[in-house]
Symmetry: C2
Subunit: 236 residues, 2 copies
Amino acid sequence: MTKLDLVYQDLKQKIDTGVYATDTLLPSENALASLYGASRDTIRKALAKLRDQGFIQSQKGRGSVVINRQQYVFPVSGVISYKELSQRLNFKTTTTMIENTQMPLPIANFKAVDPHAKPCTTTRLVRLREVNGEPVIIDIDYINGDVVPAISKAVAEDSLYAYFEGQLHLTIAYAKKEITVEPATAQDQQLLHLDANASVVVVKSVTSLEDTTAFQYTESRHRADRFRFQEFARRA
Amino acid sequence: MTKLDLVYQDLKQKIDTGVYATDTLLPSENALASLYGASRDTIRKALAKLRDQGFIQSQKGRGSVVINRQQYVFPVSGVISYKELSQRLNFKTTTTMIENTQMPLPIANFKAVDPHAKPCTTTRLVRLREVNGEPVIIDIDYINGDVVPAISKAVAEDSLYAYFEGQLHLTIAYAKKEITVEPATAQDQQLLHLDANASVVVVKSVTSLEDTTAFQYTESRHRADRFRFQEFARRA
DNA sequence: CAGTGGTCTAGACCACCAC
DNA sequence: TGGTGGTCTAGACCACTGG
């Protein structure tokens, strides 16, 4: 844990628990520097992170205002696993593996989100996500066989990310995502209990490692009436 | 223009035009510092910005790799106006004002995106966006009357953001957005030429100024079959 | 006016990568 | 081993806010 992250985590926690309340000012940068025994620059980096995440807004000559008790609803935003998400939200979720096969990457299917995808063999994983006993999402994953050899049912039904990071020590760096709305396929209708003319929200993503290897291609098909996505963005 | 932004813009432009090609390394931070006559720290801040935007990925001991020729499709991500967007994409677009009235802010309608919205009088603007003669989006704006007095038809059909920033000198700081899918209303069906059982993608947003005043509430209703949203995200 | 955040600098030490 | 990015520091000057 770096000093920057210690300051960031502590401030974030104090904002979350109301020690620093919404619409009030944080201590000044110099005050925080003394408090944490850090240089002003390190404090500023922690504040920049809070700013990017939408916790504070800084104003010249005044200070940094707490603006937002962060609330997660469905952050397609951010690179986060389904397991991490459901834990944070206290959902009662189950994951059922429907398919686990080896096949070449269907490049054309991910053209929009990664125009330069290269051929490779993959593990194809199809999983059904249920929340409170209701089927909500079908996740279709293609995992690069050069990076990850094979995946057990136990891992697939628990958490891929925990396996990748904890066991294989892969460093996940970034992802590109795309959201569209499409007519439900026969499989969507069957697994998600949908009518013939229903739509699903499709989230396609490519996740890459620190060395820029694209190693996971995912197509996530959501019941449209259960889909919700929130984000925070800054101007310029 | 700060030195940081000069470096950022120049590097970004060189990446866009291929001077620094995808999958190649940028000059080292020390080299860039000499090149631009800036300190290493300033260079690092510019690189951090490029990293956040998905242009480069840095690797300890190796350098910073160009990973992505940025491509805009429909950035709900980012605080950007429809006019800025259509210019960037070279769309042929028209905007038609349908309604321009004064009314109290419909707080309940924006509860999900701003739970603490306060009562205020607003200008309600309803505008239809067409791309290549095809109606694609209905924008319903509520603009805080305490911040912006009234809005002319000419401004509404050109660009609100250009007016807010250029004429009124407001500093737009950040926005919260939410995406959901809803059944098309009668107005949706009529204006967007949709069937009775069609769905629309609804993007609700609250935009705030530097002093944290929420001044614009927008409900953007998109034809589902024309909607596409892409984003870049980093882990942790 | 004093205090705040915004920008910029020069230098230090570390962990990591490639040769 | 030399060069790279990652972290941290101490200090400077500026523009802005508030009383």
